[in-house]
């Protein structure tokens, strides 16, 4: 009986847990409670994906109101996969949070932190699971508002301005999405995505639908930090508490990419976007510019968290590049990179959490000789860095391999070259950190620091270990991603 209600429970459990955290108030109790919730959402996400792979799309009618009128939760291979990413990162990050949060967030705000975190998790899961365009906007607001709170909890006072900037940009993005949804509703009279997909084609050639498309694209672009709209991201990631950076970097932008995929391929349909409108080329240009510009800027950063944040903008470029091909291989590359980058960047930001915990700073100049002081932590950084570059045996390689295949398949040789140049730029910025950490001596006047505590190292290495595991065993990730890509493009699998 429970199995039938898993789609609702996926979102409802963290949503209920958030106010319970507020009531518990005692940070010890809250800490015991939040990971439990995160792990149960992971269990549900895994069960849902399993169910989808075994028996096809699941549909759940909220309040038992039938689909086009009521809110429908609809899970296919694509969002089952994204649910697994979001819930998985949440489950890994939570055990890490206890020690890290105690250091970085004032004691009286810890229970509020967990409340906001659970709301954010519920929001992100909700965006992914829902099959209703307006419901998507509501969950987007839940996750956005709580992520502004999470970012503003950073120790550095600049976290406040970073959060405020994200609030302004994020609100514009969310409003654009709402306007887009409103215009679509005006033209079709429905909010259900599957229903929209049926009703848009007859009116696709109108200015209103095109305006809706433009609003939705720009709004989602803001949320996912697509190249010229990425300005909020570096500071937000740099000044947020370490756990929050790791969680948001690995989930929030991924969910935004999912929104883009869902609207492009399910709601509007690839034909309208990539054949009637020359949108593939525009998207590709933005992606290429994003990869090159953001990677270059990452090289000159002095703060490693900022460096990784710019690298995230570049990685988003790779995902969008995959989407812009609008071919099965391209989409597979983009979707696989969602998963792979979540593991890699989540792991790397957890490494930064360990470094900040012990060394007290993420500036490159403060990391001189840290490789000998914290060998396990820095080894994790090296493996994560290799994955970011795209060395074989890591997940980064898998993504880039499929991207290059997709580019060559369509004869876009220069684009394949851009992917390689992006990797070379990644070598440079990762090497800057490694050089300082391993080849400079530890300053004499500085007291030695210990290795990060075990409850931080284990989650870090879990994610870093997964980057290697899935670099070797690609059947789950690539298999699911190509299945999702085929269903998005309407090809029968």
């Amino acid at each position: 009986m429970i199995a039938a209600h898993l789609p609702a429970l996926q979102v409802v459990i963290p949503l209920i847990a958030a106010p319970v955290c507020l009531l518990l108030h005692h940070s010890g109790l809250v800490w015991g409670f939040a990971p439990l919730v995160s792990w149960s959402t992971l269990g549900i996400a895994a069960a849902l994906l399993d169910q989808v792979l075994a028996s096809g799309t699941i549909s759940y009618a909220m309040g038992n109101w039938a689909a086009p009128w009521g809110i429908e939760y609809r899970i296919d291979v694509l969002n089952g996969f994204v649910l697994l990413i979001v819930a998985g990162i949440g489950a890994v990050v939570m055990p890490f949070a206890r020690t890290s949060v105690r250091r970085e967030i004032p004691a009286d705000r810890i229970s509020l932190f967990y409340t906001a975190y659970l709301l954010c998790l519920a929001g992100l899961l909700g965006i992914t699971i829902t099959g209703d365009a307006f419901n998507l906007f509501v969950f987007l607001e839940i996750s956005s508002l709580s992520s502004y709170i999470l970012i503003s909890l950073g120790k550095d006072r600049r976290a406040l301005t970073a959060a405020y900037r994200y609030l302004v940009m994020g609100t514009i993005g969310a409003t654009f999405i709402l306007i887009g949804v409103g215009l679509l509703y005006m033209m079709t009279g429905t909010l259900n995505m599957a229903d929209l997909a049926n009703r848009i084609p007859p009116v696709a050639d109108t200015r209103t639908v095109r305006a809706a498309f433009a609003f939705l694209t720009v709004g989602t672009g803001l949320k996912l930090a697509l190249f010229p709209l990425h300005l909020w991201l570096p500071n937000a990631y740099a000044y947020a508490p370490s756990v929050v950076t790791a969680f948001l970097a690995a989930t929030a932008t991924k969910v935004a990419v999912y929104i883009l995929l869902r609207f492009f391929f399910t709601v509007f349909g690839a034909t309208m976007i990539f054949e009637s409108l020359p949108f593939g080329e525009i998207l590709m240009a933005l992606a290429v510019l994003g990869i090159l510009a953001a990677s270059s800027v990452a090289i000159i950063q002095n703060d490693v968290k900022r460096l990784l944040a710019y690298s995230s903008v570049a990685q988003i470029g790779y995902m969008v590049l995959g989407i812009s091909f609008a071919s099965v291989t391209g989409l597979t590359a983009g979707i696989v990179h969602l998963f792979n980058h979540a593991m890699t960047k989540g792991g790397l930001f957890l490494v930064m959490g360990c470094l900040v915990f012990r060394a007290g700073s993420a500036r490159i100049s403060d990391l001189e000789g840290i490789g000998k002081q914290m060998p396990w932590t820095m080894a994790a950084f090296v493996v994560g860095g290799l994955s970011l570059i795209g060395i074989p045996l890591t997940v980064g390689f898998i993504s880039k391999w499929y991207l290059i295949l997709a580019a060559i398949e369509q004869g876009w040789w220069p684009v394949a070259a851009v992917v390689l140049i992006g990797s070379l730029l990644a070598v440079i910025y990762i090497w800057r950190v490694i050089e300082v950490a391993y080849f400079r001596p530890w300053p004499r006047d500085r007291a030695p620091v210990a290795e990060a505590p075990l409850d931080m190292l284990i989650p870090t290495w879990t994610l870093i270990g997964l980057t290697i595991y899935f670099g070797l065993h690609t059947s789950l990730t690539v298999g699911v991603a190509s299945q999702a890509a085929e269903s998005l493009l309407g090809a029968t699998p």
């Binding site: 609702a8 409802v12 949503l15 209920i16 106010p19 009531l23 909220m62 309040g63």
Partner: protein, 140 residues
């Protein structure tokens, strides 16, 4: 505000009616205009008016911030609890029809409880926001 006698007297006369009106909007919401959100805002406004006239300290003696904060959480929990009750009684999440033996009556029970949850949370959030700003000490 101790010397504003007119304000104090009028406020004292008005506040009970404001709170009563909030309850009317709350529980009459399924027959007429209104509902949980509006009722919560009106209720919150009544308390805020009290705090404006008689001071934040007095108001927070009437409604201690801890209780208000619990109200924020309890309202949502009531909402979600109704949803879960529907689930446990064999329906989908938030299906009201199964809450009573007669589906129509179940709908009625469900929407009333849910709107009460919304009202509680909205009022508590309004008051919390007001207390947060009004209780702020200027930092030098």
């Amino acid at each position: 505000m101790t010397h504003h006698h007119v304000l104090r007297v009028i406020a004292k006369l008005m506040i009970p009616f404001i709170l009563l009106f909030a309850l009317y909007v709350q529980f009459h919401g399924d027959f007429g205009p209104g509902g949980g959100f509006q009722a919560g805002v009106i209720f919150g406004a009544g308390i805020i008016l009290y705090a404006l006239i008689y001071g934040v300290e007095t108001a927070s003696r009437v409604l201690p911030p801890r209780i208000v904060r619990a109200g924020v959480a309890l309202g949502i929990l009531l909402y979600a609890g109704v949803g879960l009750a529907g689930l446990l009684l064999g329906g989908n999440f938030l299906e009201y029809g199964v809450l009573a033996s007669d589906p129509t009556r179940g709908q009625h029970v469900g929407i009333t409880l849910i709107e009460f949850g919304v009202g509680t949370t909205v009022a508590a959030v309004m008051i919390t926001i007001f207390f947060a700003f009004a209780g702020r000490r200027t930092q030098s």
